[in-house]
Amino acid sequence: MSGPLLLQSLILGLLLGGLYALLAAGLTLYFGVMRVVMIAHSAFLILAAYLAWFFTAQTGLDPLLSLVITVPLFFAAGYGMQRALLSRLRPATLTMMSVLLTFAIALIIEGGLGYLFSGTQRRIQLGYSSASLELWGARIAVVKLVAFGLAAVSLLALYLLLKKTRFGQALRATIQHREAAQLLGIDTDRIAGFGFGLGLATAAVGGTALALDATIYPSLHWHWIGPLMAIIVIGGLGSIPGAAIAAILLGVTQSLLQIPMGTTWAQTVFYLALFATLMFRPQGFFGGRLAQRF
């Protein structure tokens, strides 16, 4: 394998991993605040990607501008979804029933997208679509850098929000120990709603980043949900830094394996890693004790 090619895969892997980290952050948040495996997360990613594509196709403006609309919209949708739907489920069966409910939402989104936009594959046409940079012989597409930048900025914002604000503190307290947080006077139900909103807001950003450099179609979310769920399990359910580390590692591994194995087989690395994690370290590798009982 040639040096530049290896370097190129490494860089692409890092960029991809950064994007994965953003896409998985939402899943970690939902699990953290409510112990919910949110199957519809990737469907919302694709929804955001479609909205970005539609926005650009209609207005001719840059798809990133669509975030001004989609981020608040998704935040509200997440808050509403938690308060109106998920909080109605009985605590005893919450984990399982929430999976089904969010699965149902994923189907509705997929079906709705297919109905409105047909199953045709779509792609955003950008002025800089085919531009790329050369770095020591490695070619890196500009759109990938933009997507990574978007992921980095949003993850940094998320980090600051969680660490530096009162809301973030309340959210982290809720994630760690809900009852204890309640004793501290935190309205954990509202916080859980906001946590969901925040999670879906990351889906808006992630979906837009995804749309920059991917061909999209309604059933694409199935392609994403598996790897993303693998990431959060490997990172340790409920741990955002854990998921980010796992995302980067898996992104790089996948990218490196693509050279000898091809894209399809390289995908299986997620599933193998997921399986190995559950076999040997069910609580995940980087994260939290939260996962022990889930």
Partner: protein
């Protein structure tokens, strides 16, 4: 008090469990007297429930050991510890809400091997024993109700009957009198005394001091995750460290 040599069937060595920064159980070395009614008291949040969870295998301790009847059971799965003869109830009472009262008790049946386990759950032997226990705690007339439909006090009694079905030698009760009316507290106390007279060891977490003092033979006081005093009820009651822990000076 008899003058038998005191035996310790259940003991912990340097048991520690932290949640994030909070050391809920902190280097606790405790032993309980076999065949006696032991009480574990301490202010709220002093780690009593977490201690129970570590001992019964519900939580894996970060370090330290738990020994039961001379065997190291640290980190064993809860069902193995239960089968070794250590039964427990839960704070706030846990029953199977959507099973009948009778089935709740039958869930405690100890069975081994596939053939044994494929035997009908409603066989005459098991049912007879379950009814006996329900009668013993005084709720046999409710056997067909779903457990979620009976009162909280009755649920506590049901939980005890289920624990007894598993034939434990040692029973750990987490706040048995919490949220229960005085008449029922009396009934629970009588039951505990009777079961103890039959040879069962008890470890009871309880906030009702009157009950603790009248019921227990041996008291261990917890504060911030570790024992700060232990001894006969009367001695412990007058221990200045205990008063300090409770008054939070």
């Amino acid at each position: 008090m008899s003058s038998d040599p005191i035996k310790h069937s259940l003991a912990t060595q340097n048991l520690t469990k932290a949640f994030g920064g909070v050391r809920a159980v902190d280097n606790a070395t405790v032993s309980f007297h076999e065949g006696k009614i032991n009480a574990l008291i301490g202010p709220n949040g002093s780690g009593k429930t977490t201690f129970f969870n570590c001992v019964t295998g519900m939580i894996r301790p970060d370090s330290g050991t738990v020994t039961y009847q001379g065997r190291d059971v640290t980190g064993h799965a809860p069902h193995r510890i239960a089968r070794a003869g250590l039964g427990r109830s839960f704070q706030l009472c846990r029953i199977f809400p959507r099973m009948t009262v009778l089935d709740n008790v039958l869930a405690g049946v100890r069975s081994t091997g596939l053939v044994h386990r494929l035997r009908g759950a409603h066989n005459p032997d098991d049912i007879a024993r379950a009814r006996e226990l329900l009668a013993r705690v005084g709720i046999e007339h409710l056997e067909r109700s779903e457990a979620r439909d009976i009162s909280y006090g009755q649920q506590k009694l049901l939980e005890l009957a289920g624990v007894l079905m598993a034939e434990p030698d040692t029973i750990m009760l987490d706040e048995p009198a919490g949220g229960v009316n005085p008449a029922l507290i009396g009934r629970i106390a009588t039951l505990v005394r009777e079961l103890n007279a039959e040879g069962r060891t008890f470890v009871i977490v309880e906030h009702n001091m009157e009950l603790v003092m009248s019921l227990s033979d041996h008291v261990v006081v917890f504060d911030r995750g570790r024992p700060i005093a232990s001894g006969a009820p009367a001695d412990v009651q007058n221990d200045p460290r205990v008063l300090e822990a409770y008054l939070g000076v």
